[in-house]
Assembly symmetry: C2
Homo-oligomer: 126 residues x 2
């Protein structure tokens, strides 16, 4: 059975309070439920945030492609939103997800943060 979406009923006040930057974006940290692993960071505009909460799957804004994208639509590695938080100064969100499939990273790694400083791993963009 595939995971089930569990929409989050954010209030209008909560959504209005978020302080998007001059480009209309906030960083969205994605953390895996259960393991606590930080999987990735991407950007959300107000629409991506609203959709992520209402639909229960993560939506982001691609700054390079200038379009919305829903995680997993191409890869199958979907993220099912289980909890979502905002920080004290209202300009970063934290989304706790059930990660479906291989992982969050397009490389096949579970997390995009798979290289440690000082590890000697080749520090190339992958």
């Amino acid at each position: 059975m595939p995971p089930t979406a569990t929409p989050i009923r954010a209030t209008a006040d909560e959504l209005d309070a978020i302080a998007f930057d001059d480009d209309g974006l906030v960083p969205a940290i994605v953390q895996e439920q259960g393991t606590g692993r930080v999987l990735m960071m991407a950007w959300m505009d107000a629409e991506a945030l609203r959709r992520s909460l209402e639909e229960g799957r993560t939506w982001f804004w691609s700054r390079s492609r200038k379009e919305h994208w829903r995680k997993g639509d191409t890869s199958g590695d979907r993220q099912w939103v289980r909890e979502a938080y905002y920080d004290c100064d209202l300009d970063t969100v934290l989304v706790v997800v059930e990660q479906e499939g291989q992982g969050a990273c397009h490389t096949g790694e579970r997390s995009c943060f798979f290289r440690a400083f000082g590890s000697g791993a080749p520090p190339d963009k992958v």
Copy 2:
């Protein structure tokens, strides 16, 4: 006994590879060692990143005050760097810390992400 600093020996290649934005910054996610809790997100420039790794305490760049700051110098709630990672596209870092004192948030909360969407908590900047 206070915590001990454990510097991370990043290579010059690793430091050079990080893709800072047009303002010379990258988002730095701070996660608590052991609990896996995401404590805060702040910004690092190349100098703050270098200092954080070399010194073993977190340094950030304040976009509002336009100056470097070292976490805990005012509050006492210091962060001792234990691991540090960079992501697949080189534009976000993840720092795993031992959090000293009450917590990472200036409100006294352990994490800055203490309010959940849909919780009914007052969504004001604190």
